[in-house]
């Protein structure tokens, strides 16, 4: 979100390498592979939560008030929470919520941003000016702040989190796409398409859009971590997911006053946020290093 794409050094000697498929997987991209693997594991855990969670019912609405706040044990690896639910199960189910939020936010903000960005970049002139000034305004808010303000307006729920974050994130993609699209639009093949009388929308979506996507995709994977963190922060502030949804930020918030007495309630969901955001960041960094070379 914050770090603009900085192309790594482009040495005169490298083009030869680009064609070696093996390098794609080993070589410089060990980071991307590691990130992808870690993320795949988390996705798998989320998808399989109903089967691998030791107490799947605890991921939903079940409660066991008499087993509250048990420390980690063979029965409950991560202990139990205030109302006796298995923390491990809730962390696994929480992966579903977090990933759902991440995917939805990236899809919405990426989609809106790319479309507006391509239009701005291709059309240029006042269209570009208007769109860019609007993104300026949105970008003048730190993302979390605007999400906060929006989440206050909407009632707390997972949908609110998605909307509040998506609204604040699309301008980044609009910006990025606009600049890439502007340079793509001046390339010869677009000119020739124009000369052949291909209608503008078709040029935009057939030719400009596909050629502008790569940096956006890299940015999207980099931003996954940011979305996870922002969503967790919103839920932590009580503006996001609520009971009985399993959500990591909410779990940290509910357990924070228990940190000194029942550390497990807070520690594991916090680690889950950390690891997931980390996986996104590693993947994004790896892709960035690879694709922008």
């Amino acid at each position: 979100m914050t770090a603009p794409v900085v192309p790594d050094a482009a040495g005169a000697a490298t083009p030869a390498l680009r064609r070696t498929p093996l390098r794609w997987l080993v070589g410089v991209d060990r980071l991307a592979v590691a990130g992808a693997a870690l993320l795949a594991l988390i996705v798998l855990a989320a998808l399989l939560a109903p089967w691998i969670a030791p107490h799947p019912e605890d991921g939903g609405s079940a409660t066991h008030p008499l087993e509250a706040l048990l420390p980690p044990s063979a029965e409950h690896w991560f202990g139990t929470d205030q109302v006796g639910r298995d923390v491990l199960s809730r962390v696994l189910y929480g992966a579903r919520t977090s990933l759902l939020i991440a995917v939805a936010v990236l899809a919405i903000s990426g989609g809106v941003g790319v479309v507006l960005g391509v239009v701005a970049g291709y059309a240029g002139g006042w269209v570009r000016d208007v769109i860019m000034r609007v993104t300026d305004v949105f970008l003048a808010f730190p993302a979390l702040l605007l999400s906060l303000a929006l989440a206050v307006v909407l009632q707390p729920s997972v949908t609110t989190v998605i909307v509040a974050i998506a609204v604040t994130w699309w301008p980044w993609y609009a910006r990025l796409t606009a600049s890439v699209a502007a340079s793509v639009a001046t390339r010869a093949f677009v000119d020739s398409a124009r000369c052949l009388g291909v209608p503008a929308p078709l040029i935009v979506f057939r030719h400009v859009l596909p050629n502008s996507l790569t940096p956006v995709l890299v940015q999207l994977s980099l931003d996954g971590g940011g979305v996870i963190l922002t969503a967790a922060a919103l839920s932590y502030l009580g503006l996001g997911a609520h009971e009985p949804t399993s959500e990591w930020g909410l779990m940290v918030q509910q357990g924070q006053s228990l940190f000194t007495t029942n550390w497990w309630v807070v520690t594991f969901p916090g680690l889950a946020i950390l690891i997931t955001a980390f996986a996104f960041n590693v993947l994004g960094e790896g892709l960035r290093a690879r694709l922008t070379r």
């Binding site: 914050t2 482009a10 807070v266 520690t267």
Partner: protein, 338 residues
């Protein structure tokens, strides 16, 4: 040059206008009637009507927006529903402490992030690089509120190395009272030579500033590394090598300065981000800054206060960007020519 400045200022003004409008629109969408929130649950219809009139809630929306803008310009940021004081006064009280914390965090971030970025670039592709990259990715991935809780539990209540919470030992207000000028405690203590309060403040600052520094340190290290690598691949770096300079000298004495440009823009971005991130840290360490004010405002749906905080931070961000643009002229002579 001055044309560039005028254009840049115009752009900033346009953005601020947009920010104000957007904030106004969002605040009007807040559910619940601010008049009810202000007048209290047992207010009579007459009190409600008075409150509505006071907030101008009966005017058409464009008129309200116009009044809002006019009030903002004349320094009237409205009255907080939960503290019942002018929002501007509240912000002036709370903001210096936030600024102190964020500034400390950014100092740490710059002092650590840039050398780390240099070290990573210097050993590019080798173990030090990988470990610096991985740790900076870890630093940007950590949820601050959780890290704050963890560090507080470990280092304050566990090991007792740092105070648990607060900005300074409030007992010192009795023994060595602080004369305030800027309301930034550390600054006032420094300039009035109030060493007890200064050392106490710095001691209290360590943990929250470290937590808040994690994210900016990570991004600054990453950005410095990337910018240095890019810069050290340029022709001038080859020239400097051909003049007999070693890699370290090329990076630190030649490439670093042009590479600081993107890092500087990043710092402006991270500054505003850290103020908001600081809300979460302030809550844990009971730092008397904007965070508590903001969370209280959110909890009570105090729209004038939320709008005030939002506007203040957004305006700061615009200002920071403007400042960076000007600073870039100092760092990079090419920018001056624009």
């Amino acid at each position: 040059m001055s044309r560039y400045l005028i254009r840049r200022l115009g752009q900033a003004a346009l953005v601020v206008a947009g920010v104000v409008t957007l904030t106004f629109v969002i605040m009007r969408l807040v559910p619940g009637d601010p008049a009810v929130a202000y007048a209290g649950p047992r207010a009579s219809p007459a009190e409600l009507a008075a409150a509505r009139q006071r907030f101008g809630l009966d005017d058409p929306l464009p008129v309200q927006l116009w009044n809002y803008v006019r009030d903002l310009v004349t320094g009237d940021w409205g009255v907080s529903l939960h503290t019942r004081r002018p929002v501007r006064d509240d912000l002036f009280l709370a903001f210096p402490a936030s600024l102190e914390l964020v500034a400390a965090a950014l100092v740490i971030a710059v002092a650590a992030g840039i050398p780390l970025g240099v070290a990573a670039a210097r050993h590019k592709g080798r173990l030090p690089d990988l470990s610096i990259r991985l740790s900076s990715m870890l630093a940007v991935s950590v949820p601050v509120f959780w890290m704050a809780l963890a560090l507080q539990t470990i280092f304050s209540s566990g090991l007792g190395w740092f105070p648990i919470a607060g900005e300074y030992d409030t007992g010192l207000d009795q023994t060595s009272p602080l004369r305030v000028y800027t309301n930034i405690t550390a600054v006032d203590a420094l300039f009035t030579g109030n060493w007890p309060i200064l050392t106490s403040t710095l001691h209290h600052l360590v943990l929250p500033a470290l937590v808040l520094a994690a994210y900016p340190t990570g991004v600054i290290a990453q950005m410095t590394r990337a910018a240095l690598i890019e810069e050290s691949a340029r022709d001038h770096a080859r020239m400097e090598r051909a003049l007999g300079f070693g890699e370290t000298a090329v990076l630190t004495r030649f490439a670093l300065r042009p590479a600081l440009n993107p890092v500087l823009s990043l710092i402006a971005l991270v500054f505003a981000y850290s103020i908001v991130n600081g809300f979460l840290v302030e809550a844990v360490f009971n730092w008397p800054g904007l965070g508590r004010y903001a969370t209280d405002s959110i909890r009570t749906l105090d729209t004038p206060s939320i709008a005030g905080v939002t506007l203040l931070v957004a305006a700061l961000y615009v200002l920071a960007n403007l400042a960076v643009d000007l600073l870039q002229g100092v760092i990079d002579p090419r920018a001056r020519a624009r």
